[in-house]
Symmetry: C2
Subunit: 218 residues, 2 copies
């Protein structure tokens, strides 16, 4: 079972590695990290590189496609080579998935039109620009299109997919293998539960980061 993870400069590491750590444990998983051009791709902070061993033309029919998010998505929204690849891959996939702002790329490729979909809480409204129905849930399934909320939600998405693909016992076994018995020290992982002054602070920080990302693109 070929599982393709898209990489690009400016991706968020946990967006990719959360579902990777789950899905790579599926029996028969053949994981391929793919990018417009193969080679090392750096995270938003430039402090970590993960290697895309494959370029787009080397991975054409993945069964599962995972598109992580990150500020680097913004400069890819009009990359026609990538958009064509996403559309063509999506035609053949069993599952087309995204984490965080990876859903903006699926949206820009036209894959989310008319579908309920999610993204990072701070940018979810932008999905409407692509004809999607922004849906504030941690994992949103619409047929074979599965979108997950911000960054860490890809672990939950991976486990749900593992259940769909291999059944409940397999998913539970993977959960136990990665000892996913989360115990966050605070109940601050959602704008609904975090203190309002922290939500406001994060919004302004993310807006600044967004402006920086757009300035880099321009």
């Amino acid at each position: 079972m070929e599982i393709a993870f898209l990489l690009y400069d400016g991706f968020t590491a946990l967006d990719a590695v959360g579902p990777y750590e789950v899905l790579s444990r599926l029996p028969g998983a053949e994981v391929k990290f793919v990018a417009v051009e193969s080679g090392p791709k750096t995270t938003e902070t430039h402090s970590l590189s993960m290697v895309a061993d494959y370029s787009l033309d080397e991975v054409t029919e993945p069964e599962i496609l995972v598109v992580p998010g990150g500020f680097g998505t913004r400069r890819l929204l009009e990359d026609q080579e990538l958009m064509d690849w996403l559309r063509a891959a999506h035609e053949k996939t069993t599952w087309t998935t995204s984490v965080c702002t990876g859903s903006l790329l699926l949206g820009a490729a036209g894959i989310l039109e008319g579908l309920r979909a999610t993204s990072h809480w701070a940018v979810i409204d932008r999905l409407a620009d692509f004809g999607a129905i922004p849906t504030r849930e941690r994992v949103v399934e619409e047929g074979k299109v599965v979108t997950a909320a911000g960054v860490s939600s890809g672990i939950d998405m991976g486990l749900r997919l593992a259940e769909r693909i291999g059944g409940e016992d397999l998913a539970k076994g993977i959960q136990l293998g990665i000892e996913y018995d989360p115990d966050p020290p605070f109940d601050a992982g959602s704008p609904d539960t975090a203190p309002p002054h922290i939500v406001e602070l994060l919004k302004s920080l993310l807006e600044q980061a967004e402006a920086n990302a757009q300035a880099e693109t321009a």
Copy 2:
């Protein structure tokens, strides 16, 4: 603030990337991925490479040291160059930390002697071989030595460290930034809650993997 993440062939990606995604967001964080020899290091399944930009001699006084786990730890337990580096780095750190079987490496370096410590649930008893006191908690703090349980627990550890370093608001802000509002589909992430037949199955799979890892080392 220099934060060093150890990499080696056969590491578990989420062990490193969970705390990375939290700690790299600390103000002033300067993250360095380090290995005995710099270059790409592959995960246990060989399907993902992350790049160690630095060799051991280039990173000598990290403020925070993070040692991820993975089956690759087994062949490093008697690597004297690495053990010397761990001991020397630990003397200067503000925090010395591990995720999953990374604690076996801290143990082999003599850093856990007499300390309560944790590891992946399936191997935690081995910590006693290094004079540590195996402690089944998700995150165990003993002064500046902080060990976390299996794989995904590094996210929780990262947030606890973020609180110690920058206070509660900062930790909550990072938690909100990575939308860490976990919602696992099952309550199977601990051997205490997973169905017994799945715990037994995992134990036998992990024993097999352990045997394979030791055969590779021999």
